[in-house]
């Protein structure tokens, strides 16, 4: 993250890092929305 952030800063627009970070998190948010609810169905108790 440091490298990406510092690179954006070096080209003179650090705010692009904020958008980069938000984009990364938005991708994960899609996964969160479609993942199984582990409170009801945990894999740990099936295979130890």
């Amino acid at each position: 993250m440091d490298s990406v952030a510092l690179w954006f800063k070096s080209i003179g627009d650090e705010t692009w890092f904020y958008y980069y970070l938000t984009g990364m998190i938005a991708i994960s948010l899609v996964v969160y929305l479609f993942m199984r609810d582990t409170k009801a169905d945990s894999a740990i108790d099936r295979h130890v």
Partner: protein
């Protein structure tokens, strides 16, 4: 056990390595080797410890126990470094102390590794499941990630956001405070130290919440909040006037980001079916 011994050795090596002024180019080379040893040992130890914690914890308190401040290696390391710096600032002749004060956390780390080795030798082991013999791939050593491509993608997706946010508010934040906000060295050290302490206090609280409402909903809450507030928070932080507003803004960010730091680990552990694969999954994305 090997990973713990290597961790101790790597930390001790950093603590006693002479300066560049003393031994020249050998100093950075030795430091580089020590960091590689530390990284390899951490990768081996972290996944194992995380897997063990979730497997031995009662399912009703898994999030809480998992989030006690005994994990989050990177944050603990950062905290130790900032703590040593803050402590050095409070002592007489602190400028001179700063020349060697950074070695203190590595000595502490080496000592803690010995304690970890004793704990490792005495801890109970979960009984292996009979299903281990018949899990996907047909091999006893079926903890290989390629046997679980869907789960691997799930872990990558789960960790992408949290890793990005986590490192932004830990390692990068120090540079951000100094270069973009314009705080002095001392102010930067104090603010990052305070915010990391605050984050560690939040962890078990969020863990207990996740035990009640489930990991998925906390992760969704984290994702939505971070997507909405990352740009406003960092923009406001870049215009912060002094250390107190900066600390408050970072604390606000941790109140959101902690939703990931605790839960994705438990969440991904529960999503990956086999203990061997789970251990790999825990170790790979972060380290």
């Amino acid at each position: 056990m090997l990973s713990v011994v290597l961790m101790c050795f790597g930390s001790l090596m950093i603590a006693v390595t002479p300066t560049y002024a003393s031994i020249g180019l050998a100093a950075p080379i030795l430091l580089g080797v020590a960091r590689i040893i530390q990284g390899l040992s951490l990768g081996g130890e972290y996944g194992t410890s995380a897997t063990y914690l979730t497997e031995v914890a009662d399912h009703r308190h898994r999030g809480f126990l998992f989030e006690l401040p005994i994990r989050h290696a990177d944050r603990r390391t950062a905290l130790r470094h900032r703590g040593a710096a803050v402590a050095a600032e409070g002592l007489p002749h602190h400028r001179r102390l700063r020349a060697w004060g950074w070695r203190i956390p590595f000595v502490i780390g080496a000592a803690l590794a010995i304690i970890a080795a004793v704990m490792r030798a005495t801890c109970t082991r979960p009984k292996p499941s009979r299903r281990r013999k018949t899990c996907r791939g047909g091999s006893r050593r079926c903890g290989r990630l390629f046997n679980y491509p869907r789960e691997v993608l799930l872990v990558v997706g789960l960790t992408a956001a949290g890793t990005a946010a986590f490192y932004t508010y830990t390692t990068y934040m120090q540079k951000f405070l100094k270069l973009s906000v314009g705080l002095s060295d001392d102010q930067t050290t104090l603010v990052t130290f305070g915010s990391l302490v605050f984050a560690m206090i939040l962890q078990p609280i969020y863990g207990a919440i996740s035990d009640r409402i489930g990991r998925k909903w906390l992760l969704i809450g984290f994702g939505v909040a971070v997507v909405l507030f990352t740009i406003p928070l960092l923009t406001a932080l870049s215009h912060a006037k002094g250390p107190l507003p900066a600390f408050l803004l970072i604390a606000a960010a941790w109140m959101i980001v902690t939703g990931y730091n605790l839960d994705q680990r438990s969440g991904e552990g529960r999503a990956v079916p086999h203990a061997g694969a789970r251990q790999w999954a825990w170790a790979c994305p972060m380290h």
